[in-house]
Symmetry: C2
Subunit: 204 residues, 2 copies
């Protein structure tokens, strides 16, 4: 059997990727509510109506982008050396999230828009991926706690949710806007603040 892929199909897939990339940028820039289908069409360079031949709704479009992000996250987790301590893995996943966002990626949490949140719950693919990511995070936190690396005062749920929240923390935007710190310094400062806190632990 021949595996040749028709040219038209290739072109279609390429355009679909371009659409996802455009939505990625717009989503991280203006957010879901303020992003219009016309914005997307203009960014890709096609007519508004044509978008609906690829994605049947604005919600499906956003879900596709966020699902892609979750798959990337799982891939990053899989690529981590098995001998790293769990707490190190948690640190690295936060570091990756922040770096990814500074490169123009979408944050994990779509919590900025109630409308988007509600539609995502109905999206089977997204929910399945989100559950897998969430399970991986919880497993890591539990392992880190068994190893004695996690503070007793901070419950597991707080840690996992905070990891998501940090990925869309507006602090990043403000620091970038100020321009006093490099992207790398921003990432390291936020990782340090998250894992070791504001307080100095030098003295007693």
């Amino acid at each position: 059997m021949t595996l040749k892929i028709p040219f038209r199909k290739q072109q279609f897939d390429a355009r679909e990727e371009a659409i996802l990339d455009a939505v990625n940028g717009l989503l991280s820039d203006k957010g879901y509510d303020l992003m219009t289908m016309e914005d997307v069409a203009a960014a890709v360079g096609v007519a508004k109506g044509s978008l609906y031949k690829h994605f049947s709704s604005k919600e499906k479009l956003a879900a596709a982008v966020l699902s892609r992000l979750l798959r990337e996250t799982l891939a990053v987790l899989d690529a981590m050396p098995a001998d790293w301590p769990a707490v190190r893995k948690l640190e690295e996943i936060l570091r990756w999230s922040l770096q990814h966002r500074l490169r123009g990626g979408v944050p994990h949490l779509p919590s900025t828009s109630r409308a988007l949140q509600r539609s995502l719950i109905l999206n089977l693919e997204y929910v399945a991926l989100a559950l897998r990511v969430n399970k991986r995070f919880h497993t890591l936190v539990a392992a880190a706690r068994r190893a004695g690396d996690i503070a007793a005062a901070v419950p597991d749920d707080v840690i996992v949710y905070t990891l998501y929240s940090r990925a869309c923390d507006p602090t990043v935007e403000f620091l970038v806007r100020d321009g006093k710190l490099t992207h790398e310094e921003i990432v390291e400062a936020m990782v340090a603040a998250t894992f070791d806190g504001f307080r100095s632990h030098a003295g007693a």
Copy 2:
């Protein structure tokens, strides 16, 4: 001279307060973009058009609510015992923010809506208040650092911005929704996570 305030004026002011309270609730619930003037009118119990006799636009309305919140914040800062260490004051202001939000208050940061952000920059009263609050925060952080209570790895800006961000951290909503922790436990866990971090500092 008589200081009697006309009845009509009292009624007008009372209604204005009611409007601000309604917007406060809606803003913390659906956010700026999804909140419509009809929502506000329905919550207050007046017609949509009547709102514009009090506030000339939706943006002014939101700015009024957020300005009121900033004034409250300044009042809380003023009410703190002068002999508290600066780091203690920072901790308390975060604690107050989280408690205030759990009681139904609006988060400080309008960072969820680009549209709101842009209009606030043009609002003189709001900007002036925001600058005052920001200055107070920076002064406290500088004092805490001089006292040796702040980690060297975390710049002042990161601390101040994070204090704002924490006040509207979606982690709070998720923890409330899960229902495993009481409001008080949520506040303490987040304060602990923010100031002492995830990592256990028990061992070496």
